[in-house]
Homo-oligomer: 437 residues x 4
């Protein structure tokens, strides 16, 4: 975890106190059910919940001190709870193994993390939607291969991002449902020393589903899929960040990350406003993605379990979720405050002197009865002049002045072919599809 | 594609002929709709479908020859079709771009690939299920960290694999639905020269959903998610393959890949039967997984599109799907014919002289009124003798002969604690959860 | 292997015939040494080499047919050779295991592949060097964050690429030396049935070094390091390809991939020349890099060896080397024929109206005795006008006309600050460092 | 960084104080050289070094407080130094850019990290060597595919690890030399405002080589190669860790991680000593490896630089080096204290009832004049009995009692074929190669 790329709510999930609270709840719910089953006295759970009702703070240092002696984190925690609650605490953890607590806790943490990320996605989607409608009809050049292609609108470009992050939301909801399982099944998952109903009860209380079959641990394909999903979301962040970096480059400058009034660029040059936020997001995307491969390598544990996954998860659990949360929030801020320059978009659109419309003229000439080859030649000889002028000449004006062209098409017909609106007639359909009618 | 790791049905999806057939169908459906819209004469689509009804074979070499001249694959194909169909073919492809055809075709190919993989998963699940029920109550030792832990059943171990591959099936269904989209939207996705209803019609005819918004190409987050899902499935294959490799090792030998009667090991030594299929699967899992990172890197195309994704997909499209298909089928064969040695499982279970039951004896002594420390001491002094004998002594016999133990527990009580069935009482619950009641 | 991204010389290394030739040489050299040691008659090697001297062609189909029966590739090959050579061939392979042949052959293949890649790098370096000297003093704007920063020269930019690929050459030489080892050491690497001197002799004859200790196989950390090195080279290709893609984009257009005179863009628009080669190289870099992770995962074979690495290497061995060879050659062609537009570079340099020199003016004012704050204010008020004019105004002219500035700096002093040569004075030093004095 | 997987010396490299110290040294050396060049007064450097000679502590909090205002880390640091040193400090940083300091500092940090890792490797090599010689002739079974193959010695197995980590040392030395470069070359690497001799001087003082050509930043192929090398080392750690995990599993138990006398397993069962350290190392290897892909993705920065690499390096710089340092040290401890069971190795060797020698008997029968088929049949009919007895019968005894075998080979001849030393005769040669004669 790198503090500068971390936000408090997500970070809190991974702090010891939060983890211990989840441990307690799992243990207390299990004790409750064990009481109802008659395995332990009901007084056990009551004592635990009574204490919990006092909203006690968790003394992490004290637990650490016990762990330094016992060399076992769960036992240390149980001892500390017993010190607080008294002898009734001895009914905790009956028939359970450490992994029952540890793995179910990780499920809770990842589910909570997913909830924050889903909120992040909602905020991002809202920001994108607002800007998309704002620029629904702002003309801009569409580019394939980095080269001008045909006109589009800036709102339509943002609609693409909206659709992409909507898919990411659905994926994350799917992955969240997968990861949110509870396993309380003993040393090799046979429920030898604990009834399956305890697992079912705790799952329900903790808002989890029951792990149908476990092996001391929850199977790691669930975690692999979860982190793979985060990796896809990160790649979508990289895509939108890359788009903005392109738009901000000196020669394009169709949009810029917001600079606060007092903020200075790195020098005396007023143009030196760097897209540092989106560059940073590009890097953060790489970081989140780097969790995918080790998560996939974690799946093939030996037999009922080995513990090789654990150290990996100590890194990627916090790192991937905290970084992605930060990145989504940063991207939301970038989109929300993005400075958009419609005039510059128009200027760039026009910088080819109307060459982007040459295809439509070609078609018009053909429809007017000229051979395709002849049409092509007519367009090209004018287009080449425009091209060589680096956009200083206007294709429309040259065509109007070309007698062969003029013989085939009226000025009105020609001008119609340079009408941008021709390209925007389906924007409504697209917006309906993406944002709902 | 490595031929030895390829099966015909999946390979066929990626062959030129199959691709051209999909191209034709897309073009012909589009021409049909364009006819209905009045953009082109209805005779265009009719001529195409009439020719298609003759079940013509696709002359790949002829198309290649044209492409060598035109340097453009889609144009070469259209020219060849026009040669076959005649002048009515000129109404094909009106207002479309090459990517409309290429990208929709990739969707069809990946969806078909997913269908085969889903069948593969069904076959694998059926094999696992059959073997799981066959060995529902076959005792075997559960191992954590590679060390004997507590008894379980071999059927329960297979139930784990069943549950894991069931999840993989659900994931692949989700990913298939995501990838199966159709885009016919023009150079920058604005439908400038083609009506959105053409896209909708072709999508319906091809069994695809409509891409809500495209950019000349279908967004690559869909593909990234698809390949990431294949990577998760591959990791699950690695897990089960690793389990079998462990079971077959000389010292364990609880199960073996099937060797045909005539098949010889590599030498005169009859023990030299190597788990080469599951080792191979371990390697193939790495291969399938290696598609995930480049697929994630493909997402951030520049602006409306660049073509960097294309070369990547020429490798990973066939490689990941063909390899995974082969691997699933190979794993199904391995599971189906796996030679399972229950006697050896029992022998391994017993090799610790009953030490796996020591915990239950400890608990029994405590419940019989002894202090926990005293109980532990009693168990340990007998357990250590068993341990030092490398399993030659029997913990049960030693305990029976220990007067302090005998004072606390009757022979019957002791023997009950060595009862394997204690561990199997929830197998039914687990099977109900996994396979349905 | 994707044929369109493959060149014949590299592909040939991976074809069956080439492999069988290496097999033969290894076997024949070993038989020679075994003869000298008196283990087998000298007539064995003589018969082999006599046959080899006839330059026999390898009948791959015949060997395949035998393998279909024996189910063992090395035995099939030995049988086929025996059919050709006669009974003396029975002295081949004495005391050897299949892996002795297979693994040493892979070393030879990878070393040969490295030799081709080293030649590719030499060709690329030569092309870069030629263009670097050609444009040693061609002014162009240096960009950080995609934003204009300070002037540099195009030759200096190419010098960076030269230095980077020189490093890659050194890395590949290091990795080639590592991979080029010979192991002929028997079933678990103990030389139980073959003398170490055979290994030493074969190594020398095949141009390899001796593997100091092997385990039936050559340790896979060597291969992992080799493929990791290829991954680094691929990333350097991506960097230069990305640079060219940026330079070719419509708004920048400082350089373009070569288009042959007859070649048409995708439309009537003459600007539509897409950087498809460098986009393709970006994708191919992802493909080569994707070999790194599975190669790293191949290292941890079980005990003396398992065969999980083998299937992985059947993919990444050919794919990574063939693709990288193709990519290096393609990049060499791109660099060699790159169309460079110095006028456009100058135009882009000037497009900020001289703002790139504002820092130097600021410094000059300070040195002329003004307070830094005052200097900054003076520069900024003129710079902002230039900025707002989108480069239509000239900073130099505005400064000359600003009485406060004129009071501090003469016209000559001002003009000196707009002198591009100031930025180029160390180009010679850099070229000496990179290309040698 | 996960504290439990971190050691102080390596962690210290990445702490703010250490970074600031390097910053200071770079700035002070540069000021010194600028003084010698007459660009600034010599008093500047003198003031800096005089203050430094007082061994001042770095007030990280104070610098942070300034950065909170200036929003620029290097400026904040310079301001703080100026507060300490006084007005002479204004001569610092003349003509330099922040990246000159930041990137050169990262080089110093990575070089220092490499030095610690090289020490770690030396310690690991020493431990492996000691144990290798200790068990140079300890017989153990060699295993291919997890199946018993032929005898080897445990020392020879350790020699493999020694050779592998020796290679890793050479790789890291190569990578360290590559990463240890100094760049002080200005905004786009042209030395516009600073003389190249400053870079040369600082490089020499800091123990670095000169970056031949930079672009504001040091090219990231260097870093990519560095992290790729760490990834290879991590994979070698995984290999040795996996070997130990295999050896410790219940059925094998040829070696065990050391357990301190007071240490308890997880239960009353004395066999429950888990190889948790080597399992942990397996996971940590995945973590270190996960740095490779993002490091490769960092290479293709845009134009002269973008800042996407920076966030990645904030994670992987500390994480990969700290984790690898910890892992090497942990592995050294595991090897150093590994509990090795030669008797158990012998027992496992014998568990096949001598079947591992069947090949040698087969050869002996052939050499005694029997047909190969007949020999095979004789060996096999006895071998199968041994195999079916699960190693309870002895192949040697059965062969002695087989009249057909006895007719061909004397008892003495038979016994010679069961002599383990046959397999160990080249151990000396191997040790000479690996450890030096």
């Amino acid at each position: 975890m790198v503090p500068r790329y971390a936000r408090p709510a997500m970070t809190a999930i991974w702090e010891p106190e939060a983890r211990y609270k989840i441990w307690f709840e799992i243990e207390a719910h299990a004790t409750q059910k064990l009481g109802e089953l008659g395995v332990v006295p009901m007084s056990g759970a009551k004592a635990l919940w009574d204490w919990w009702a006092t909203k006690p703070s968790i003394d992490v240092a004290a637990i650490d001190a016990i762990e330094a002696v016992t060399k076992h984190d769960v036992i240390a925690f149980l001892d500390w709870v017993a010190q607080q609650v008294g002898p009734e605490a001895r009914f905790m953890h009956q028939g359970m193994t450490s992994s029952d607590v540890l793995d179910t806790t990780l499920s809770v943490q990842l589910a909570k993390a997913a909830d924050i990320l889903l909120e992040d996605l909602d905020a991002l989607l809202a920001a994108i939607k607002r800007r998309a409608f704002e620029h629904k009809y702002t003309p801009t050049i569409g580019r394939s291969h980095g080269i001008h292609a045909e006109p589009t609108t800036f709102g339509k470009k943002l609609a693409e991002a909206y659709a992409e992050f909507s898919r990411n939301k659905a994926r994350l909801q799917f992955a969240r449902a997968e990861i949110a399982t509870c396993a309380i099944s003993g040393a090799v998952g046979t429920f030898a020393n604990i009834d399956p109903s305890v697992e079912e009860y705790v799952a329900e209380q903790m808002g989890l589903s029951v792990e149908p079959v476990s092996t001391q641990v929850i199977p790691r394909d669930r975690h692999a899929f979860f982190f793979a999903t985060l990796g896809v979301i990160a790649s979508s962040i990289e895509r939108l960040a890359t788009e903005i970096r392109h738009l901000q480059r000196t020669e394009v400058l169709e949009a810029e990350e917001y600079f606060s009034p007092g903020q200075k660029g790195s020098s005396a040059m007023p143009h030196k406003r760097n897209p540092v936020l989106t560059e940073n997001l590009t890097g953060l995307a790489r970081v989140v993605r780097s969790a995918v491969t080790p998560a996939l390598e974690n799946v093939a544990l030996w037999h009922e379990r080995d513990i090789s996954h654990s150290s990996v998860e100590r890194y990627i659990g916090p790192d991937a979720t905290i970084t992605l949360d930060f990145a989504l929030a940063r991207l939301t801020g970038v989109v929300d405050k993005l400075v958009i320059y419609p005039e510059r978009m128009q200027k760039n659109l026009d910088r080819m002197g109307g060459l982007v419309h040459s295809q439509r003229v070609l078609l018009a000439l053909t429809q007017a009865g000229l051979e395709r080859d002849a049409s092509y030649r007519l367009v090209q000889r004018n287009a080449m002049k425009v091209w060589e002028s680096d956009g200083q000449l206007s294709l429309l004006e040259l065509l109007k002045a070309d007698p062969e062209v003029a013989a085939a098409l009226t000025t009105e017909q020609l001008e119609e072919r340079f009408n941008l609106d021709y390209h925007f007639k389906a924007v409504d359909v697209i917006f309906d599809r993406v944002f709902g009618a």
